[in-house]
Symmetry: none
Subunit: 204 residues, 4 copies
DNA sequence: GATGAATGAGGTTTCATTCAT
DNA sequence: AATGAATGAAACCTCATTCAT
């Protein structure tokens, strides 16, 4: 929760600060990231920084919120809201697709999330104890697929929810290690789904 | 590479140092880990540390090598060497099983690998540019499965290799977040393989 | 000296500022006291503060003057003015009594004076080089007592003046450490004077 | 409690540090005193300071202990131990005399104690809640005087103990404001005691 | 006159690494 | 080879004061 001062800032300046922060946090793990560098790069005085934010962590948390918000905006929420009209596999495709699109268009942001994911101590401070949101999301989705009778009942929901989560990370990795793959978005997603679909769908 | 002095140390002392290092690196990201803490915990003088290692990173690299070595020792290498006698899915099962066993018996080590995986800067310094060993390994394995005619030819090797890698991370996560799953080892692995097998195997 | 702006302020606002200042200076030594805290508590903007006062010290000095003024108002000035009609010991009693009453009714203010008394650097800046007003006051009083023939001529004026001063501090301390003494005002004063009187009065 | 490192230092260096600390703390209230200044003046690196002391407060506490220790060494402990052989007033004289001697020979140290006495917050952190040691000491002494039948029974012990304490402060003040008094030590003490003795002694 | 953002010097503390014994 | 003290570059953060509206 940045201080009110921050939100009263002219949008342009606010943006400059956020950009600078992203640059720094994307290239350095939290404890290695320097407030000084951010202030400098944003063109503000050290003192001003602390007029906007409680401290380094405060800015970091804010950044995380922005990212989540941004990521959510990539999901075709129409589709999700009207679940009923779509098959489980269509929905899954949409989810992966949006994740992929987001990652592709915001490559700079990827490391930040990745780093946080691995600094458990920090992660807890920010999101509290509560468990992996991603896995939870997939479990709901799977549950839906089951209800629709699209999923092989022999499948273990818990295990697969976790696996699907792991796969999104793999997806991100493709982009991160960029250039090593010459397929276009749809293709990757479809190849992936082909595999998943076969793995999950009800056998007749 | 640690200095010769290190290897001349009585095994017991060497071990104490390694243990101390593991403790520290398992609980703190590289830059946050303190050499002082390691030396203290190992019961050696600060000065001695630098008689054994070039610097902090030197010790870290060494640690990584030890871990890889240890992990490899968990693989039923017999099976792998005599690939020919086994089906692709049997081999895959063996791979996951050994990975799982290692993780379960060395929970303390998991965070270290995880953290490294996400500090790309550090990762490169240690492993150079060369790409993900894990994915490479799976691609070889998949290739073998294809040759054996066990895998659906419509499957994209590159993509799936990456996915299989991602899944091993998910596996590790199960253990890390410990206690949240009430299945025993085999069961988890088998549920996972059931999904994978359906996804990959040749349709008739 | 506060700027004219300050004195043009509506009395109520002026008071709010003074109260806030007292609160801050009573709980923190001068250098530790924060202008920000005062402004905040008084409900004025940081910038306004500097429209009223030259700087932190300016406000502080002003505060001191107010306190002295307030303290003086506790003395039964009638009695002092008409010295001639009273015995030295009656006057002394009056002096201690008024000091005590002031302290008791303005406990909040005590620490401020105490702190200043011990920050010589600050003290000088405020009161200049000139010596302890309190001791001076007592010396005059003693002189009077001597003239009246009430005081043992063997007594050294300078020394005792200082001692009487020290005693007023002790008095203040009683109140500060509040509750540790179960006598009422008069009683304390009288017990104290009993001692002093015996110490000073002319032997026959 | 400075770190062991500090006590392992060559006496000379240790002393240089202590001297530097005294210089700084004698001229600035605790929060205003700068570690940098101390290190510089002592001729050690900033880092070294923190190898010797936990932090600024750690050094400060240590200093206080040294001072108390030093002050105690000024008391003619023989006399105190063999109370029985001396009259109350002789003992009192000894106490004031030693306090005076200490103050006179360690003028530099006086402000430190004074400042601490008025930073209640700090005082508590160092000496805990427990009440004024000085007053306690005098109460014991007075009790002794009473038992010996030397003190006017009408005297209130609590009140006078506090007053005697206040007087020691006055004494210190004489020295602090140095040069303003042209009597020699004994004389001051004796003049003071003359007053006190008359105040306290049993009337016949 | 009022506001509140902007500034930046300055302070404490941490820690990897070097040095001298 | 072992020790442990010495070093000093940063890093974060605070706050009195100035500035621009």
């Amino acid at each position: 929760m940045p201080k009110p001062t921050f939100f009263n800032l002219p949008a342009q300046k606010r943006e400059r600060i956020i950009e600078a922060a992203i640059d720094e946090f994307a290239t350095h793990p939290f404890h290695q990231a320097r407030v000084t560098a951010i202030a400098e790069q944003a063109g503000i005085a050290m003192g001003s920084f602390y007029q906007y934010f409680e401290d380094k962590k405060d800015l970091y948390k804010h950044l995380m919120e922005l990212l989540v918000e941004k990521k959510l905006s990539y999901i075709n929420s129409d589709m999700i809201k009207n679940k009923g009209k779509y098959s489980f596999f269509q929905l899954l495709r949409e989810v992966y697709l949006s994740g992929f699109r987001f990652a592709k268009e915001n490559q700079r942001l990827l490391p930040i999330g990745m780093m946080l994911a691995n600094d458990k101590e920090l992660y807890q401070e920010i999101y509290g104890e509560h468990e992996d949101r991603s896995a939870e999301f997939f479990r709901d989705l799977l549950e839906y697929g089951k209800e629709q009778g699209e999923i092989d009942p022999a499948i273990d929901m818990k295990v697969v929810a976790k696996l699907l989560t792991g796969m999104t990370f793999s997806l991100t990795d493709f982009i991160w290690e960029d250039g090593k793959l010459d397929l276009d978005d749809m293709e990757i997603i479809d190849k992936m789904l082909y595999f998943i679909e076969n793995g999950l769908k009800k056998k007749e």
